[in-house]
């Protein structure tokens, strides 16, 4: 027994002693494979993105309703062709584009205006710019519920103010004529700070010399804005627009939380329509086809913005 224990202890000591020894063989990577190895994580990420994407493409080419599994088959472009004759699809397209362009347009104007006002680095401006970021920190779904209460025709504070200024019986999101306006207001409230902060950073990073030279020459402020500030700020404006267009064309939470796409078909944007098609109607094929079209629109718009951004950058480099 004693010998056994002693033997085990010796083996343990031997094993411990070898821990610090240098390895006999060095693991070498053939330089030829190194680039492939280094790009492997990117490749894996790409696969992780592409698998769901191509699954959605495959679904969009199928007649696929969860409630009719026996009827599932490839119908190739039929889902897309059906859209051509489906008035609700054209309405979705129109509503989505209107929503995206109106919200982004208003947010750009407001964001730029606020950024210009806060451009100077003062304690007050810094404080205000932080305060203005608050809505951006609110989850859009929560913001919608908050606005839903404020716009309640019975007891909402905004309905009260509307009455004070003579607008009687304002029904906000409940009326087709004001539903779009209401959700646009909420979107603008949530996302204007995003544009504001991006443009503020842009404004504060612009070189001072052209502005100082203009000031010395006594150039009018409006001229400075149109001819110096705006052109120099354009890459930032394009970046902000790109981000916001992509996001607002895919809007879901604000609209769904406030109106579920109604009244009628007033606010049936792509994401709401696709969501209802999948979760309520279990029409996977139609839902996927809608999302593929949304992807194509987003891709097309992103391309335009990125190409313009690159062109501007090249121009700026050329000018330099």
């Amino acid at each position: 027994m004693y010998q056994l224990i002693q033997g085990a202890l010796e083996r343990r000591i031997m094993a411990t002693a070898t821990v610090g020894d240098p390895p006999k063989r060095k693991f070498k990577i053939n330089k030829k494979y190194l680039p492939y190895l280094l790009s492997l994580p990117a490749l894996l990420t790409c696969i992780g993105i592409l698998i769901p994407f191509f699954t959605a493409v495959a679904y969009s080419l199928q007649r696929y309703r969860l409630s009719q599994p026996w009827a599932r088959k490839y119908n190739w472009g039929e889902n897309y062709l059906n859209f051509m004759t489906d008035p609700s699809f054209w309405n979705t397209l129109k509503v989505s584009m209107t929503y995206a362009f109106v919200t982004v347009g208003v947010e750009l104007l407001l964001g730029l205006g606020i950024a210009l006002l806060l451009q100077k680095r003062t304690r007050f401006n810094n404080f205000v710019s932080i305060m203005l970021l608050m809505p951006l920190m609110t989850a859009p779904a929560l913001a919608s519920l908050m606005w839903k209460l404020m716009t309640n025709p019975g007891f909402g504070v905004l309905s009260y103010f509307a009455e004070l200024i003579g607008i009687q019986d304002m029904r906000w999101a409940s009326d087709p004529s004001t539903a779009m306006l209401t959700v646009v207001i909420v979107d603008v409230w949530v996302y204007t700070p995003f544009i504001m902060i991006l443009l503020l950073a842009g404004l504060r990073s612009l070189p001072r010399q052209p502005f100082e030279a203009a000031e010395l020459d006594g150039v009018p402020r409006l001229f400075v804005f149109w001819k110096i500030t705006l052109p120099m700020l354009t890459p930032f404006l394009l970046t902000a627009t790109l981000f916001r267009v992509i996001e607002s064309i895919q809007q879901f939470d604000i609209i769904y939380a406030m109106t579920q796409g109604g009244p009628g078909d007033t606010l049936t944007v792509f994401q709401v329509e696709a969501y209802l098609n999948f979760f309520q109607s279990t029409n996977v094929g139609r839902s996927a086809a809608l999302l593929m079209i949304l992807w194509a629109i987003t891709y097309f718009l992103s391309n335009i913005f990125i190409k313009n951004w690159l062109r501007l950058r090249e121009k700026a480099h050329g000018d330099a």
Binding site: S67, W70, T259, P263, G264, F279, Q280
Partner: protein, 481 residues
């Protein structure tokens, strides 16, 4: 401890003493009514354990449930220890609020996950889940004496409710037909009738409407006579849930159908008839004149809370919504009364369309027999009676519970007109929709059309024709029309 009390409860279960004597006896021993209820139920569970059925067959097994946040789930949880004691099984559950509940169910079932063994559902949802193969036909369990205890008494379930949970899977197939599969077990259900604020009605000198014309008139009168109150609460959001309560109950009362089923089983739209047009016109007028100003965003929640807060004079919606608004901290608690409602003046009785909270079994479950033990207990007469008398498990789906004197007197005492309303409406209460896989598509579109009509974006005639055209196109596309 509690031995005397337990004995008294047992005597009550065995029919040796009346409920009144039992409660009086309990009170003399310092036991509250709520505790007495628990003891009675424990005694009932013990009695159940002695019916010769092997309740311990799945002892040690854990079943997992997916539940919606609802008083029915609360009643079950309050009583679950008795089930655990009876069977030696364990029960775990996830609870989600209704807003996200059905998305969670769809995701869980469509993924083929075996995580959940049983779950709460509505009967309409089984028209998707059943044909998709996500849930089991429960007939094979109900009819199997080795799996179902002899006191389960399936025939005790209200017929219209029971049949509404059974469908043969054929688009347009009649609910409860001989070849129907029992996709879910009714647990609790809602009839759609009138709940009105009796204080307001008295104040404004209004009488209870008995048909749709009177309803339109009374709602309008209430709005004009009562300051800051709108006449009638009905749902209006862009959802299938806007169509199924009051609206379809009134629609069915005029003998109208959502779809026609031809002899060869093809479906077509049936909502653009003359009678339907007339009913739609009245309904739209009622909302325009006396509905909530933000009607198009109203779900059951807004309809209910406005009634409870005294913002509306009445609702034509789920009776249990009125039930819950008549209690708790609601401003109008105690002021609400209930009345049966037949929209058609020529109809003999109301024909409420119903919503049924039911229990279904996940096909992917690996513990189906154990899950069925839970389901038969949760939908059994003992738990039904416990829930109805001690908790807020209304409306029960069992005739025996509705016959219970204690339950009826409890309702009569605090919920004026509720029992009579139920008794009068129950014979005509069932799902009046045509069972088919496009149910949610078509009813959501119907709700959107109704919104357009109320907003005067489209005249009723034109709106119904457009709706019918769209419904026919969708049915054709899906191979059903």
């Amino acid at each position: 401890m509690y031995e005397k009390e337990k004995r008294l409860a047992k005597s009550y279960i065995n029919g040796k003493v009346s409920r009144r004597s039992m409660l009086r006896g309990m009170a003399s021993m310092g036991v509250t009514a709520a505790t007495a209820g628990v003891l009675v139920n424990a005694a009932a569970t013990q009695a159940l354990a002695q019916n010769g059925f092997d309740w311990k067959k799945h002892a040690g097994t854990t079943v997992k449930l997916l539940l919606n946040q609802h008083p029915y789930a609360d009643a079950m949880i309050a009583n679950i220890e008795n089930f655990k004691e009876l069977t030696g099984m364990d029960v775990v559950y996830d609870i989600f609020p209704e807003d996200v509940y059905f998305d969670k169910v769809t995701a869980a079932l469509s993924s083929g996950s075996s995580e959940y063994d049983a779950f709460m559902t509505g009967a309409y949802m089984t028209w998707t889940y059943g044909p998709a193969g996500w849930i089991d036909d429960l007939n094979e369990y109900i009819g199997d004496a080795s799996k179902t205890n002899p006191d389960y008494n399936w025939e005790d379930m209200l017929e219209g409710v029971r049949d509404s949970c059974a469908w043969n899977g054929q688009p347009g197939g009649a609910l409860g037909s001989d070849d129907a599969k029992q996709w879910c077990i009714p647990w609790g259900y809602e009839q759609n009738n009138l709940t009105y604020n009796s204080r307001m009605f008295k104040e404004a000198g209004l009488s209870i409407p008995t048909n749709l014309d009177e309803l339109v008139g009374t709602a309008s009168e209430a709005k004009s006579k009562l300051d800051g109150v709108y006449g009638i609460g009905v749902r209006g959001s862009r959802s299938w849930a806007t169509i199924h309560p009051g609206f379809l109950s009134a629609y069915a009362n005029f003998g109208q159908k959502d779809l026609n089923v031809s002899d060869d089983g093809k479906l077509s739209a049936a909502m653009n008839t003359d009678v339907s047009r007339s009913m739609h016109e009245k309904w739209v007028k009622m909302i325009q004149e006396s509905g909530a100003p933000d009607w198009s965003t109203h779900t059951w929640y807004q309809a209910g809370t406005d009634l409870g807060a005294g913002k509306s004079a009445m609702i034509f919606d789920a009776d249990i919504l009125g039930y819950f608004m008549n209690g708790g901290d609601n401003a109008e608690a105690g002021n609400l009364s209930f009345a049966p409602f037949a929209a058609n003046p020529d109809a003999d009785a109301p024909t409420p369309n119903i919503w049924i909270w039911s229990l279904a079994m996940a096909n992917a479950s690996k513990k189906k027999d154990a899950a069925w033990y839970f389901m038969q207990w949760a939908s059994g007469p003992e738990h039904g009676l416990f829930g109805a008398t001690e908790m807020d498990f209304v409306n029960p789906v069992r005739k025996s519970v509705w016959a219970d004197a204690g339950f009826r007197s409890r309702l009569d005492k605090s919920y004026s007109g509720y029992v009579d309303m139920h008794d009068l409406s129950a014979p005509g209460a069932k799902i009046h929709f045509t069972a088919q896989p496009l149910f949610f598509d078509l009813t959501t579109e119907w709700a959107a059309t109704l919104q357009k009509m109320v907003a005067s974006e489209v005249p009723v005639d034109e709106g119904l024709d457009q709706l019918a055209q769209s419904v026919d196109r969708q049915l054709k596309e899906a191979g059903l029309g």
